[in-house]
Structures are given as structure tokens and as C-alpha cells.
Symmetry: C2
Subunit: 446 residues, 2 copies
């Protein structure tokens, strides 16, 4: 019986990186999985005595880590990868991204784009994505069918789209999605009001009340650029953070994405309220939005996790690469080479993310009782030799192409880099069809 199909099975590797306790490296250890959970982590020498008949996959040269958690995604936008780059934000949005969305965004687009993104996520060790996009019913269905874990944002924005026309409809359709995936072990939901500059006070208040009742997070773009501060002060008489505070939105339920334009006083406010910060360094750099002061936030005790943002502004969905950029940028931006050491970086894409979603009891580390969301990374490539330090290599030297196997809830979804629940040829062929439809064929230009 192949590993992953048994009620109980074991994964053995040269290194197990449990993430809790921080910086631990367990050499020659095994993880025993029972159904969807981790039963035990133990030295491989003890495995055969303790579990003599267990179905067992040995992975020499590999490291096992918790599945990675991508905390800010617009998955379907994978179809717009490289559609427009190297442009001012307003030109990029107004002349490229929004017209393309206006024209094409719908259930089929979201289906095909999300499948492409999930394929990329799995091949990069990502086992959960926190999404914010239209047609969340389609995103949730695609994730669930793929065996992928997702936190599905229920969108709200103060203008009409193909998904909904006004606040009532956004909320109503969102609640329907929440309801219809309530029994799905892999799918959770969050409210996803777009941003302070596109959502009115009344809508925020309704969402806050519902999020409390339903006990779900609120996933919000906040302070992506410094320009938002002056705009908000003009329009509302308050900076965005002060406005969110007035609306009682600053608490542990909030997933505040970007957070580039933060004063020291703002950092104190964020820390005091237990707001979760989601850092998207590559998108922020590429659009020249600003830089999130990650070293200061961590020093203030803020829970910081990482997201790729969409492929339209990144342009890959590579969380391992993203946190590498985060670790490097934090050092360069703070002037302190000790900022965001490798083990902290690894926590940012695993346990910190689980904590932000209120799910640190189930996800984000390889502790007994937690969900068996695991990825196996092959460190035997020349690019990661010699191996003086495994965690350093995972953050600073390993590329996501070294992810070989992925399990979600004890079920293997990627095996030797091939997805077991997705049809690669179909997904790539769909993407090519959308390329013809959506894009000016830049590739054909000489």
C-alpha cells in the first residue's frame, strides 16, 4: 500500500524540523501519521520497535517541515502573471489589471486561475492559502476538490462587480458560501473587506459584528502605501489605522496585509491590540508601495506572517522565495543583520500564520495531535551542499523546486513533484487558452 493510503503510516527523513520548539532540528526522525493527524514524532531508530508493521516511507537527504501557509493570495489572478509590469500602480491597475478583470472575471476564470495557483502552491510546499477574491464559492470548491486547505475570503468592496452589486449582496452571497462549506474539513472562511479606501464605515461595522458571531478572521489590505494615510485623513479626518481603531476592528481577528506606512506609535498600537500583520515583501517592492518594518514589529511582539500576493504583482507564488526576500529585506531595511534569523523566517510561513488564523492548535508545526500537513524538501541537490545548517539552507539556499512531496490532512497531494489530485496538462492548457483571451500577446512582439 503506498504511503498516504494507510490508516497509519510513517515518514522518515534525515531531518524533521518541527518549528515548535523554535529552531529545533531532529536528526534522523520519523513522523507517525494516523488518518489526518500527527500521532508521534520519534527517532527513526525507535520506529521499527514501536511500530513494527507500519507502512513506511524513507526519505534520506530530505527535511520534513510543516506545510507552508500563504497568508495573502488572490489565487485566480495567476492567469494575469506578467500581463503588466514595471508600471506606476495607477497605470498598472487602471489600464491593465482592472480592465482585464472587468472583461473576463467570472466563475470559469476563477476556476481555471485557482487551479493553476493551487498546482503552483503544492509544488512549492504550500498546504494552505488565505484567499481574497471574487467568486469565493468557486475558489472554495476548487481547493476542496484538490484536497488543499484554504481560508476563503468573503469579499466586500464598495463597487459592483460580476460577483455582487452592493454591500447587502456581497454579505449575503458571502454568508451563503460560508454556510455551504461549513462541513468541509479543508475549508474555512474569513471576511475580506478590500481596503479602508474602498469600504465604508457601515459595511465595516456589519462585518465586524458578523465576524465575531461566526468567529472568523477579517482579511484586509491596510496601509499598502503612504498615500492612503493622506487620502484617508482628507476623506475621513482620520488615518486608516485610527479609523479601523474607531470601528473596533483592531484585534487578534484582524489579518492586516501590507502595513508599510507605520510610525513607531502605529507599531505600538498594532502590538497592543494583537493585530496580525501579513507581510508581502515582493509585491511591495515591485509596486514600490513601501516597506513593512518587520524587524520593529517582531521586536514589539507582533505576530508577523507572509503572503505572496497575486501573480500579477509578484510574479510567482513562491512562499519559500518570499520569506527569503522577507528575511533579507528585514536585515537591509533595519540595518541589523541579526534581524529575522532563519528560524524566525521559517516560523513566519508556518506557526505564525496558523496563529494569525486562530488555528495554532491544529496547524503550523509538527506536534502530535496537529493536522498532518507536511512537506518533504530534498536537500541532496548540489545547490544545498554542504549542509552546515539545515534551517539556514531551507531559508537562504533552497528553492521550492526541491519540494518533492506534500501531504495535507494526512493525504498525499504531491509525489515526486507530480500532483495526485490535479491534471497538469489540463490546467496548463486552460492557462494558455486564457492567455489568448486575456492578454495582448506580448510574447509575439519582436
Amino acid at each position: 500500500m503506498p504511503a498516504g493510503a494507510a490508516e497509519r503510516f510513517a515518514l522518515s527523513a534525515s531531518w524533521v524540523i518541527p518549528v515548535e520548539p523554535a529552531a529545533a532540528v531532529l536528526k534522523d526522525h520519523s513522523i507517525v501519521v494516523e488518518r489526518d493527524r500527527i500521532l508521534e514524532v520519534l527517532p527513526s531508530t525507535e520506529l521499527k520497535q514501536r511500530y513494527p508493521d507500519i507502512d513506511h516511507q524513507d526519505m534520506p537527504g530530505h527535511a520534513l517541515l510543516p506545510g507552508l501557509i500563504n497568508m495573502h493570495a488572490h489565487s485566480a489572478m495567476a492567469l494575469m502573471r506578467g500581463l503588466a509590469d514595471d508600471l506606476q500602480l495607477s497605470v498598472w491597475l487602471n489600464d491593465h489589471i482592472w480592465p482585464a478583470e472587468q472583461r473576463w472575471m467570472g466563475p470559469e476564470y476563477v476556476h481555471d486561475g485557482t487551479q493553476l495557483a493551487i498546482l503552483e502552491y503544492l509544488r512549492g510546499g504550500i498546504t494552505l492559502f488565505n484567499d481574497s477574491y471574487f467568486f469565493p464559492d468557486v475558489t472554495a470548491a476548487v481547493a476542496s476538490q484538490s484536497g488543499m486547505r484554504a481560508c476563503i475570503g468573503l469579499p466586500l468592496i464598495n463597487f459592483p462587480t460580476a460577483w455582487a452589486q452592493h454591500t447587502d449582496e456581497y454579505i449575503g452571497r458571502g454568508l451563503e458560501v460560508h454556510q455551504s462549506f461549513k462541513g468541509d474539513q479543508l475549508i474555512s472562511t474569513a471576511f475580506a473587506p478590500h481596503a479602508p479606501y474602498t469600504v465604508d464605515d457601515d459595511s465595516f461595522l456589519r462585518i465586524r459584528k458578523l465576524a465575531e458571531e461566526m468567529d472568523v478572521p477579517i482579511h484586509l489590505h491596510l496601509l499598502e502605501t503612504a498615500g492612503e494615510v493622506t487620502d484617508s485623513e482628507r476623506e475621513h479626518g482620520l488615518a486608516p489605522l485610527a479609523r479601523m481603531q474607531k470601528l473596533n476592528l483592531l484585534d487578534t481577528r484582524l489579518l492586516a496585509v501590507h502595513m508599510t506606512a507605520l510610525s513607531d506609535a502605529d507599531i505600538d498600537t498594532v502590538a497592543r491590540h494583537g493585530v496580525n500583520v501579513v507581510h508581502c515583501p515582493e509585491s511591495n517592492l515591485k509596486l514600490a508601495s513601501g516597506i513593512c518594518p518587520v524587524a520593529k514589529l517582531l521586536a514589539a511582539g507582533v505576530n508577523v506572517s507572509v503572503g505572496t500576493d497575486s501573480a500579477a504583482s509578484n510574479n510567482d507564488l513562491d512562499l519559500l522565495g518570499e520569506v527569503r526576500t522577507a528575511a533579507l529585506l528585514a536585515k537591509g531595511f533595519s540595518g541589523d543583520p541579526e534581524a529575522v534569523p532563519a528560524s524566525t523566517a521559517l516560523a513566519m510561513i508556518t506557526i505564525n500564520a496558523a496563529r494569525a488564523l486562530g488555528r495554532e492548535e491544529q496547524l503550523g508545526s509538527l506536534l502530535p495531535g496537529k493536522q498532518a500537513d507536511i512537506c518533504a524538501v530534498d536537500l541532496s541537490a548540489p545547490e544545498t551542499q554542504p549542509i552546515h545548517n539545515v534551517i539556514s539552507h531551507l531559508i537562504y539556499a533552497t528553492s521550492r523546486q526541491q519540494v518533492r512531496h506534500v501531504w495535507v490532512a494526512g493525504k498525499q497531494l504531491l509525489k515526486d513533484r507530480e500532483p495526485l489530485t490535479l491534471n497538469v496538462d489540463q490546467i496548463v492548457s486552460n492557462a494558455r487558452r486564457w492567455q489568448q483571451r486575456v492578454g495582448t500577446d506580448y510574447a509575439a512582439q519582436a
Copy 2:
């Protein structure tokens, strides 16, 4: 006969990116190679008529680019990858890197480390590296035996090492290396005085004179940190750039590496003298050295290229990843998302580098008459779908694992990611032996 073995052969691909003219994308084109040179670039539809019997390799879904040029390397230090991270520069150097070098650096170390680096270079599309390290005779021999192109730095530093004891010996041994590789088509040399803070005026003057006579570049660490400015002012009464100007070193022969602490007046000086700047963004970020003002330098007309620096401070030797970081960082640091667009980034790792080495007539683009240094990148992976813009994808979405084939001087060195002139098992096994010797076994720590 396999492609690469014939006197003449052709490479056909979905896209040829010649780099000259800038931003050009030639769809469905072929490159005809004759011996070590590019004979012609033409539409693939014309290939069969013009060259009916030519040995021909078709690569649908691939892009052909000029081989990438890594402009700042200490290749042998690949053996120290991940030995020490997340530390203050002084601690990193004094307590980790220098003691390890003091203990182990010698011909065998340089041989094994350089082989490991060259394997990584080839698997990442790099066809030329500009090196600065001790035992350059060994580095040159390893490169030449691998079929790899290299510009070998002849080191000089004002303290004794296993390579040489004093200026006379550094220069003498350097000249011997230059002399003994004079007939080697793949090997060129440069003087590599370490840095203004480790080399005295007299040595710089001797090097300048010799470099002019021999017509070779001078490869120098310059302004890696702001601290160097104050130190130099105290010791020499001049900032490093002013001191180099006084010593007549500021000209097109100079490859000035790092260049983080530059005022606007400095940028003007650099531009006026035609100094070549080599940008190492990831090393600079990781060590929190400072940030090179690439957007301003390019705007001033300075020739900017890119280097990985060593694996001890990066920790990969991934030039495609490095220039992606350079393109993103330039936007974020300048606040201008139009800074360093994708085609400029591609020029920085190809033609700009060739120009810095004074070899733009032979290298750095796919023009007839130039050396056939070519890499083939497979864009058919899901991670680079859909393909709205090939050059955007190469810079922002492609990882080096998508490099499938590499040719240097018309000879294939990498085929389906396997090196044809290097023994992977031997190289990895050597690296593991050095891991035991050099490193505290961090990997064994729980």
C-alpha cells in the same frame, strides 16, 4: 551526432532573446552555431531551406538567452554555504569565516569548492564567472577543465595568506597565473586587490600600471559599507572614492563591487569616469551592508552588472534570482516601480557584464560573430504559465531550475540539467567531506 559535437549546428526554440537590441523577443527563431561562434540568428521557418542538412535541436516551449555572467564571485567559498548566518559582519568574519579560511584554505579546498560552484553556475545558466579568491591558478584550471569561462582575479591583500606573504609575492604569483593561462580561450584575468581598507597606495599604483600594460580589468570591493568612508577619512584623510580617484583608478577598467554608500556627487564621479558598478543585492541585504542606488546609477548612465558574491553570504549562487532581487529592490528603494524594468535587468546579467569586462564584442548577447555562450530555459512549467510576456517571466517568475541546457563557446556543458564535464557524485561527496572538516556540525544539533 548530438547537437554540440558538429562543426555547425542549430538550436531552435519558441523564443530567442538576443538582448541586443534591448527588449527584443524573436518568436520561433533558430541560432546557427559554427564551432565556438554564432553564425546567424534566423526564423526557424527559414532554417531548413538555408541549412538543409544541419544538425538541429528543437526546443519548443524554451527561450534561448545569452549565457549569464556572474560579475562577483568567491567561488571556492561554496564550501562555507550556511556556515554562519544572521550575524553582525564583524562577528561573521572574525569568529567564523576567517578562522575557517585560515585553517582550511589551500589548493584542495579551492579545487573542490570551485567545482561545486561551477556545477551550481552551470545549472543556473551562468557561463562566465568573475572570481576573486586565493589560489587563482587552481580556480582557473578547474574552470578550464570544466569548459567554463572565467575571469580569474589575481588577488592582493596587505596580509599574509596561504597563497602569498606580501605584495611582491601576490603580484609575482598573479603574473605567473596570467602567463600560464594566456593561451586558454576560456580564461582571462583581472587584478583583484581586495579593498581600499586592506590594500596600500603603493600596491594600488603597481597594480594600476600593470593592469594598463596587460589590458586587464581591476576587480575591487569598494564602499561595501558606510563605515568604510569614515574609517578611510580618518586613516587617509580621504573617502575611499576620492582616494581611488587620486590613485588614478577610476576608469572603465575598474569593476567596483558593492558601492552602497554613494552620494549624488559620488554617482556623478562614477559616471564621469566610466567606472563599472557591480551590484550584489542579496549579500548586501543579508549582511545589512547598505543598498546600492542602482536606479540613480543607471539614470546617470553608469554600466551596472550583478554578482552573487560568495555562498557564505548569500547563500545561493543564483544569478537569475539575484537580478530578480536587484529589479525588485531598485523599485522599492527608489520608490519608482518603473526602475529597472525586466529588459534592463536581463541586460545587467548579460551585455552590461560583458561590457564591464571589456568584452562586449565577443560576449553578452546573441549576435552573429559573438561567442556561442547560450542557455536554454524551459518556460513550459506551470509556474511560468500563462506566458503573456517572456522577458517578464525570465526575470520575475522563472527559477534557475528551469535552465535545461547550457553551451559555452559552442560546446554543450549542461544537457537536461546534467553536467557533461563534471562528476556530480564526486563533487557532492567532496563537499560532504569538507562539511565534516570545516564546519561545526550544525545539522546534527537538535
